[in-house]
Each structure stands twice: as structure tokens, then as C-alpha cells.
Symmetry: C2
Subunit: 346 residues, 2 copies
């Protein structure tokens, strides 16, 4: 029976009116210091928590959230997933009317990124949700973004940025787990290679380290850059070269969502028996996971990340203190068997 204590109770106990209580609640000043002190004490003692629904009912406030991510179609459509989660959060919080303003940039163009930031700033959002996957120096971003409003990073972190919360996976652990699975798959026979994205950021490097941490020093999987996954032809050439370099490859770890490209290649060449692990539950990857060309997919709940980002910003804007400074997503392991049931939980 959680006794709900209201603003009226506080007023009565403090011997003031609800108007006064409201003023100290929102630091709107024009309140005698001692009065304010009493009210604050009472709030703590009673464990008063404002009724968000009544509060929002009253002011019908609409929060504008500025969102900065790569273009939804980049990384094989991956960025659609967090976008969906954000929309779901806004939908669920409907009576509160949250206005999501997406500003997407080409993750390979600095100009595009700057432009997106400028657009966002011009809108004067109440909060910012940012996937700091971008070209150029990370330091610059702190200056570009509008200051003094709550900021949430997701997917990757930018440690130097002051923020409300970071939401994402522990890249090292995620790589490490992939390493464990790969060793099970290959039973340590043959060699294993790593294929990473061109723009290897902090996040990707963590995954590489984690993966290698599961291998003995003297036998570290070699690292390649997937410069040529953009067309089937260049992809085939690139992969062929890999195999002519080292014909004994038994395992391939692709450190991002483009693992389906490697799967296509293995299918072409009839090499489905080779262990293949990659990232993210996107359409093309699903298909290859189901047919078994991809053995495991690591997932990071991109939809939930978007959802939580909007949710946390919403809470912050509505005067909910607290909340973790870091929400770590678990490392989900997907296989042909559990794939379907994961879809609603992306």
C-alpha cells in the first residue's frame, strides 16, 4: 500500500500553500530561504515524488529531442533499429508529446556531420541523443554541440564528453565472447582472421582486443580492413586474396554488421563449413544465420538502446534525478534457433 504523498500534503505539513511548494520544487526562486529549507526537508522525509502524469497533464509540455546518428541506410540498415526504438518510446510516452528530430549524417563525410550538427543546434532541442560514430577529431564535437542541455551517447561512447548517460555494450567483452565461440567452432584448428571496418574507432578496437584476448599470444588472429565490401566483385577479389594469403583459414570474425558480405562469399565458394561470426540482427544477416553460413551473431539491443535513450532524456527533462551513468547492454548470442524470438527484443 504505497501511501502516495502529494504536493498538498507537503504544503499542509510546512504550513504554506501549494504554490510555494511548487516554486521550491522547480527552483523558481521568490521563496524565503527558511521556508524553502523546511519544504525541502519535508520532501525528503516523506519521500514525496511528483506525479509525472499530473505534472505533464498540467503543462502539456512538449520536449524536443535532437537525434544525431549516421544515415539509417548505412551499415546495412543498422541505424534504423535504434531509430525504431526511439519512436517506440515516443509512442509509449504519447500523452507527453515528445518531438523527435532526426539529423542523420554520412559517416564517411566530415562536412555532412558538421552540417547535421548545425541543423540540430538551430532547432534548440531540449535534449540530445548521439551515436558518436563520426569522422574527424572527437574533441571538436564538444564545442559544436549546444551546451547546457542533457546529452545521451549510445552505441559508442565518447568518454571526454560530459553526459547524462552512456548506453551501449562493453566492446571488449563482446569481442571476448566472440573469441570464445570461435574457438569452440574451430576447435582450434586452422587459423582465424578478423575483418574490421575501415573507420576503426575506439569501440571497434575494443572488440578486436577482446577477441584476441581469448587466443594465445603466439597465435593471434590477423587483422584485415574490409575496404572492398561495397560491390560483389571487389568483395570477391578481396576475400580471394585473403584465402590465397592463408589457405588454412577456418574461422572469420567480422567486426560489424557487414558480416553478410563474407557469408555471400563463402556461399559462392562453397566454404560454408568455415566458422563465421559477426554483428547485428539485420535482414541480410538473419538469412545467412538461418541457413547456417553465419554461425553466431552478436547483438547489442540497438532498438532498446534507442528506446532507453529517449526514455532517459525524458526523465531528465521532467526532473527525475538519479539513474545510472552507464547502461550496459548485455552481449546477446544469436543462432539459427533463437533468432526468431529475438526479433521483438532487438
Amino acid at each position: 500500500m504505497p501511501e502516495t504523498v502529494t504536493i498538498k500534503d507537503i504544503a499542509r505539513l510546512a504550513g504554506v500553500s501549494i504554490g510555494t511548494v511548487d516554486r521550491v520544487l522547480h527552483d523558481r526562486g521568490r521563496v524565503a530561504p527558511e521556508t524553502a529549507e523546511t519544504v525541502r526537508r519535508l520532501i525528503l522525509e516523506t519521500g514525496f515524488r511528483p506525479n509525472l502524469y499530473a505534472s505533464n497533464l498540467a503543462q502539456a509540455r512538449t520536449s524536443t529531442l535532437g537525434i544525431l546518428t549516421p544515415l539509417p541506410e548505412q551499415d546495412s540498415g543498422f541505424w534504423q533499429l535504434p531509430h525504431n526504438g526511439m519512436r517506440r518510446a515516443a509512442e509509449e510516452l504519447l500523452p507527453f508529446s515528445i518531438d523527435l528530430r532526426f539529423h542523420c549524417f554520412d559517416r564517411f563525410s566530415e562536412d555532412s556531420f558538421r552540417e547535421a550538427v548545425a541543423e540540430l543546434a538551430a532547432e534548440k532541442p531540449d535534449g540530445i541523443l548521439l551515436a558518436p560514430i563520426m569522422p574527424g577529431p572527437a574533441q571538436e564535437i564538444g564545442r559544436l554541440l549546444p551546451a547546457g542541455i542533457p546529452l545521451c551517447c549510445f552505441d559508442s561512447d565518447l568518454p571526454e564528453l560530459e553526459k547524462l548517460v552512456f548506453i551501449g555494450q562493453d566492446p571488449y567483452m563482446s569481442g571476448r565472447l566472440a573469441g570464445k565461440l570461435m574457438r569452440l567452432l574451430t576447435t582450434d584448428r586452422g587459423s582465424t582472421v578478423i575483418i574490421q571496418a575501415v573507420q576503426a574507432d575506439y569501440h571497434i578496437r575494443g572488440r578486436v582486443e577482446g577477441f584476441r584476448s581469448f587466443y594465445p599470444r603466439k597465435n593471434l588472429p590477423r587483422l584485415y580492413e574490409e575496404k572492398h565490401f561495397d560491390t560483389p566483385r571487389t568483395r570477391t577479389a578481396f576475400m580471394d586474396e585473403l584465402f590465397s594469403d592463408d589457405p588454412d583459414i577456418r574461422g572469420i570474425f567480422v567486426i560489424n554488421s557487414s558480416v553478410h558480405q563474407a557469408a555471400e562469399y563463402l556461399n559462392e565458394r562453397g566454404l560454408q563449413h568455415i566458422g563465421l561470426i559477426g554483428y547485428d540482427l539485420i535482414g541480410p544477416n538473419m538469412r545467412h544465420l538461418e541457413t547456417g553460413t553465419i554461425d553466431f551473431l552478436i547483438s547489442q539491443r540497438p532498438e532498446l538502446q534507442g528506446y532507453r535513450g529517449v526514455f532517459r532524456l525524458f526523465e531528465a527533462l521532467n526532473g527525475r534525478p538519479g539513474g545510472e551513468a552507464r547502461e550496459t547492454m548485455p552481449v546477446d548470442i544469436l543462432t539459427a534457433e533463437n533468432l526468431r524470438d529475438y526479433i521483438p527484443f532487438r
Copy 2:
């Protein structure tokens, strides 16, 4: 900008007062048929959805939910987890004041179960949340439970019961995935055994079938009942017998949360190299997963199940139509590496 249409808009458009609109909204009668028709049409056309927050603010209704599960300490404390999720949901929905009434039974006593049901019925709850793990004939339950109120089954299903929703895992798929992992672990050498609970219900049998489906016909893992996991001494005797029956055991699949008992035994005998897979993220299992005696744990989001159960009942009681008739939890694969990050997502 999702134009929020209110009850007032409907009233204006229909040329009636909000009182009338409210009456048709809640089928409270005393409304002229044509008027009601007009209002209903307008509601559909405008896509009007009542503001839950305003609605609940107005009536301060408190819903009583009757909860029926095994005793929290049974199954190695497993049942605490869904309980936690239920409390979290009630907490989050705080201004709505939801009253959770737990009625727990001894899962090995029919009398205890009947008593719990009687208690629950006496309280006249507004909704029921039920984990149908119980002794005796399932058919009886339909008659015992109070009728006419929304019912939600979680963890296991009881197909013959009419219900709002079932929330749980696909047992077959979960067993099948365990089979896949076990074959990877043992690389198909030696033999593998299955240890199941004494009261093997529908749910457990599904897991067994799934597990075996991954093995060739002629080499099906044998099935044992864990009659003797209650004390260390009987446990050791039981397991010793298993190994004297078949000294070539390389893999053990325990089909419930008591896998930590098997782990204790393997530690005693220095048999940690044997593949061990079991269920559920509870304290004793966590420790053995971290030290590597347990190789994989399958989890089924028990906390989320409880959370969703309360949430769905709440929605149903507040006139939200729709929602899936089945919420399938994904089969989570836990290892020493991702264990920690899963804890908040149980």
C-alpha cells in the same frame, strides 16, 4: 506532431456533452442509440485514444492483481525473479496504484496449491497472474480459478485455459539450442546425459525433445530423474551411480535451475572439463558459470516475464484492447563473459 484528440473534441463534433461521450466510451448505457452510433463513428474516425494518465488521475482506481506461483525459495530461489519483475512494474506504474497479492504454493503439494487458489479467490482480484507449475490435473484449475477476469499465464502454459496472454519461452527451441551448444562443447565425443526434475511437466518435456532433436537417432542422450539433489550426500551417490553406469560421460544437460548441484559434484570429483549446461541466472549458478564449471546457462527473462505480466493485466484492466496472445521470450545464452551484463536484464 501527433495531434492529440480529446474527449472534448469528440463531444463538440458530435454535438453532445462530454458526459455522453464518456458514457458510450464505457458502455454505461443510458444513451440514445443514434447518439451512441455517431460518437462511436467519430471515435474511430479521429483515432481518439483516451489519455490513460488523465483517466487514472481522475478515478485513482486501484487494481488488485492475484498472483499464483510456487514458493519463492523453491527451485533454488528462482521464483523470486518473476516476483521482482512484478514489483518493478507496480513501482513504475506507481500513480496508478496496483496492489499485488502474492499467493505462493508448495509445488509438490496439491493441498497447498488448492489452499493458495482459495485464498486468491477470496480476495476477488481484478486480474490473475499464474505460473501453472503445479501438481495434479491441469484441468481442475479452470474450475478453481475465479472466472470472468483477465488471466495471464507465465513461465509455463496451460493451453486449455482461456487467457489474455501467455508469456514464456518456447521450450522446444530452448532445448534445441542447448543441444547445439552441447555438441559444440563435446565435439561429439563420449556420451551425453540429461537430468530432469521429478515433476516433468509439458514444459520440461518440450526441452528434452528439443535437446534430443539435435542428436542422431541412434545416439540419443539418456534421461535421468534428479530424485536426489536435495542433500549433498544423496546427490553425490546419485551422480556417482550415473558415472559408474557410463564412465564415458562428456556432457551433462540439467533441465532446470538446479544445475549448480551437478556443478558442485563435478568440482568435488575434479571433473570440470565435462560439458555442463543448465538453466536460469540464480546466485549459485552464477558462481559456477564464472569459474567455468558450468559452460552455458540458458535463461528466459523471468524478471521480464513478471514485469510484462503485470503490465499486460494493467492494460487490459484499463481498457487497452489488442496486444499479442503470446509473448515469447528469447532464449538467452549466458557465459562467464556476458553474465554480469545480463543481471539487470533477467
